[in-house]
């Protein structure tokens, strides 16, 4: 296990390094630049800005400089507005993670419960209605759902504000973010739960007189979790980094919209930082997923 982890971490570092290189060179290859404005920046200002941010140097040298600064913990400043990248990213991530964390929790808990219920009541009305709603949930894009929620709860019913400077509403964005993963987890849980309920060890447990709830939670659900965990790892990483659509509709200053605006602004330092951040998060999520496999199913080995 220890050796495996070291190997994984080293590989992760290599992957992240490769991601950074690809992002850096592709980002510089796409047309446009960080200082393009409708009212043109003067040639002199353009020159000073390029010099300040090392954009006047050959592209390879720029990359080496960037890596060097990063090694010293310096993420640089935004080319667009001069804000410190590290504090920008961490404050945005705090917002996205709080929102995404709650949404992921809701999705996992409800998904497992609904999935189990559906499996246990197969082809009866609870199962039928759960299948109906999960199909709806997976089919509806988040922006449609978000707008619908806005229309019903903010405008028709007036229960929640669309926007508030004092008490931002997190209920609707959490629903908008969690419905799809919840529906997906429900379906995964149901399928694999049905599969494990038919297994010999479940029958054995029942035959031995193990109580019904224990059969379900200890024997069936636990084994049904593996496909769910495979999905949940990357899903959590994805949801934590924010969704541009949901953030825009509910006016939330998270990482998702920052990511997209950084690209349209060609804010090179910010693009690099957000991509790297996302890549690290993905790598960690995948690593945790693998460790979770092992914890759930001792038969899985890392060799």
């Amino acid at each position: 296990m220890g050796r495996y982890l070291i190997k994984r971490v080293l590989l992760a570092i290599v992957s992240i390094f490769i991601v950074s290189a690809i992002t850096f060179f592709v980002m510089n290859a796409i047309p446009g630049g960080p200082f393009n404005k409708e009212k043109a920046t003067s040639a002199e200002a353009q020159r000073i800005l390029e010099e300040r941010y090392n954009l006047d140097k050959p592209i390879g040298e720029q990359y080496v400089l960037w890596i060097k600064n990063l090694a010293h913990g310096d993420w640089g400043v935004s080319l667009h507005n001069g804000r410190d990248i590290w504090s920008e990213i961490t404050s945005r991530f705090a917002v996205s993670a709080r929102l995404g964390g709650m949404a992921a929790l809701v999705a996992i808990v409800l998904g497992l419960i609904l999935g189990s219920i559906a499996a246990l009541t197969r082809n009866r009305w609870p199962d039928r209605s759960i299948v109906f709603f999960t199909t709806l949930g997976t089919a509806m894009p988040s922006f449609v759902l978000a707008t619908l929620l806005l229309l019903i709860f903010c405008l028709k019913l007036g229960w929640l504000p669309v926007w508030s400077s004092s008490s931002p509403n997190y209920v609707l964005p959490i629903i908008a973010l969690s419905v799809y993963p919840m529906a997906y987890i429900t379906r995964l849980t149901k399928t694999s739960m049905l599969d494990s309920l038919g297994q010999d060890y479940v029958r054995t447990a029942k035959a031995k007189g193990v109580p019904g709830w224990k059969v379900i939670f200890k024997h069936a659900l636990r084994n049904a979790l593996i496909p769910v965990v495979t999905y949940v790892g990357p899903m959590v990483a994805y949801i934590l980094t924010g969704s541009m659509v949901v953030e825009n509709i509910f006016t939330i200053g998270g990482l998702g919209s920052t990511f997209v605006t950084s690209i349209t602004n060609r804010d090179y330092t910010l693009i690099m930082a957000v991509t790297l951040f996302l890549a690290i998060l993905m790598v960690i999520a995948n690593l945790l997923t693998d460790i979770a496999y092992k914890l759930i199913d001792p038969r899985i080995t890392f060799e």
């Binding site: 409708e38 945005r92 400077s165």
Partner: protein, 599 residues
């Protein structure tokens, strides 16, 4: 292991994948944020992105039978202007929305009242101007910064010199070009703490207006020097910075909200009627419009494009403000389309296409908010720098009401003079020989594309084939600036009230001369040295009456090339709750909220 690597690489590639789907919203975002001009108009036009705008108004009346919902906080005004501002430092801001924040939280020497008249702000009176018009003496009131420090003439001198320092890289530094220099510094003397003596290079009819422009507002030297160690503007990137205007920024949740509270040290604090301004930071017009209808906002200046026609003239909360600016189309004069033509022939081709455009259709069906079809480049209502209005009834270049179908014959004649021939298709359309195929360059945005489609049909009457290419905002700006286009959408909102602000765009050395006038060596491109000389003469002339004539000459020269095709003059829409009163705006798009009342 390979799978993991692929997953990580996919994460990276998302960065680029996302540009494709993020474009629509972001061009709006961008236009609002960093386009120095016409942001408001861009905002409404470009943000057609959100598909689910319909229905939001259905719930509007649910709470309040008489109209949309109102909120009852009479001391707080809830506003949306745009998304996150890039800079609150008035020296570095170059957006109209940022300018609105600046006029409410900073004070300059002069400002505008609700009638649009220039009035003293920190100055005691209008400036005393020397006989030759080059020396301005301004007396200052005694006033304070928000932290209680005294504000003196030296603060202005420091702030102005900071703007022109190349390391500040201020976009609007060129506005200070009218002031003479002592070496690297501006020729501004301070005989005492409350007197400024400003020497200009030559008489400038709009210098008083400049002194009311946010770039000329003072900044607090100690704060700036303490925070701006690495990059300029850092001192005003978080709430709590020192300013001298009606409001100070109390809190700022990035991309969510800003809370401005009344500044007790503001020189005119006793007359400030609104206690707090709360800004929603969003460019998503569906969300903004929903927040307005739900009563969470009192004032917005963008609505979903689809809603404009159902609001304009129907809902009394919907209003229109005049702006000084022109939405236009430009030709790249060095484009291969004009190869082999003489200067005159190329100009005739462009003028012919100008006549084919049905402006009234575009105004009514695309603009939709009562814009005036343009028949000149300098916008309607602009001052002439000599006490009058520049645009008069007899200074139109064509009849803007009847361009389009009524002028097909005139356009055809011009094309024939340029060496083209036509065959009648028998259905009112013609085939042109040799064929003309060109591409129209625009940024994403339903309004821009709809206008382009309208022109596409107008041109097709004479058999001209125009394709429409819409690009991501950033790429669009780059291609347009570098002349990588034949015909492109353009727009300019004036920064100050003088025609030179519109006409100087086209000097050979201007960074905004997208039409590439004077920049190429093509035989069909007009010789532009006369225009450059004329603009120079206008800048140096001391006789303001003669200056008006020279300005008209410059506009004539520009319009003669046909490179610039004005479509309409900009205006700006807004919605305001019926219980709110006293908000006013200038023709430059600056909005003043401090004297507003709410009941």
């Amino acid at each position: 292991m390979k799978k993991k690597l692929v997953a990580v690489l996919l994460a990276a590639s998302m960065a680029f994948g996302l540009t494709a789907c993020g474009n629509k919203d972001d061009s709006a975002n961008n236009a609002a944020n960093n386009a120095g001009n016409n942001t408001n108009v861009e905002n409404t036009e470009a943000a057609g992105g959100s598909d689910a705008a319909e229905g939001t108004e259905a719930g509007a009346g649910a709470e309040n039978a008489g109209g949309s919902a109102l909120n009852s906080d009479t001391g707080i005004l809830y506003i949306n202007l745009a998304s996150e501002p890039d800079y609150l430092d008035p020296a570095l801001n170059s957006s109209v929305d940022g300018g609105c924040l600046a006029v409410n939280s900073f004070a300059g020497l002069y400002t505008y009242d609700s009638t649009g008249a220039l009035i003293p702000q920190l100055a005691t009176d209008m400036p005393e101007v020397s006989e030759d018009g080059t020396v301005y003496t301004v007396k200052l009131k005694e006033s304070q910064w928000s932290n209680g420090d005294p504000l003196t003439a030296q603060d202005f001198v420091y702030s102005w010199n900071r703007v022109i320092n190349p390391d500040t890289t201020a976009d609007y530094a060129y506005l200070f070009d009218v002031i003479a220099r002592n070496g690297d510094a501006l020729a501004v003397e301070t005989p005492d703490d409350y007197t400024m003596v400003i020497t200009l290079n030559s008489p400038c009819p709009y210098f008083n207006d400049l002194m009311a422009f946010p770039t000329f507002f003072p900044v607090h030297q100690a704060s700036v020097e303490a925070a701006d160690t690495e990059v300029p503007g850092t001192w005003a990137q978080e709430a709590g910075f020192v300013c001298n205007g009606a409001y100070t920024l109390e809190s700022w949740n990035h991309d969510e909200s800003m809370v401005y509270v009344k500044n007790p040290n503001y020189y005119d604090a006793e007359n400030v009627t609104m206690d707090e301004l709360h800004f929603m930071l969003s460019a998503d017009d569906t969300a903004i419009y929903a927040a307005y209808n739900a009563g969470d906002l009192d004032y917005i200046d963008t609505v979903p494009t689809d809603e404009i026609s159902s609001l304009n003239g129907v809902n009394p909360e919907f209003g229109i403000l005049d702006n000084l600016g022109t939405y236009y189309v430009g030709f790249n004069v060095n484009d291969p389309l004009f190869d082999g033509k003489t200067v005159e022939e190329a100009a005739k081709m462009r003028q012919a296409m100008n006549l084919l455009i049905d402006r009234q259709f575009i105004v009514e069906n695309v603009g939709q908010s009562g814009q005036v079809a343009a028949d000149s480049f300098v916008p309607l209502g602009m001052a002439d720098g000599n006490g009058g209005e520049f645009k008069q009834a007899d200074t139109s270049y064509y009849d803007a009401q009847s361009t389009g179908a009524l002028m097909v014959e005139d356009a055809k004649a011009l094309f024939e003079e340029a060496g083209y021939s036509f065959t009648d298709n028998g259905d009112g359309t013609y085939a042109i020989d040799p064929a003309i195929n060109m591409t129209y360059l625009t940024n994403d945005g339903s309004g821009h594309i709809a206008a382009a489609e309208s022109m596409q049909q107008d041109f097709a009457v004479l058999g001209i084939n125009m394709e429409i290419k819409s690009e991501d905002w950033n790429v669009f700006l780059e291609n347009r600036k570098n002349g990588n286009f034949t015909i492109a959408r353009e727009g300019w909102l004036a920064d100050y009230n003088d025609p030179i602000n519109m006409l100087e765009l086209f000097t050979s050395d201007s960074g905004n001369n997208d039409m590439q006038l004077g920049k190429g060596s093509g035989e069909s491109a007009p010789d532009w040295s006369d225009y450059d000389a004329l603009i120079k003469e206008i800048r140096n002339t001391t006789d303001f009456a003669a200056r008006v004539d020279l300005l008209h000459q410059a506009e004539d020269m520009l319009m003669e090339t046909g490179a610039v095709i004005p479509l309409y003059y900009y205006n700006d829409i807004y919605m305001q709750k019926p219980n709110v009163d006293g908000i006013y705006a200038t023709v430059f798009g600056m909005k003043y909220f401090m004297y507003a009342t709410k009941n």
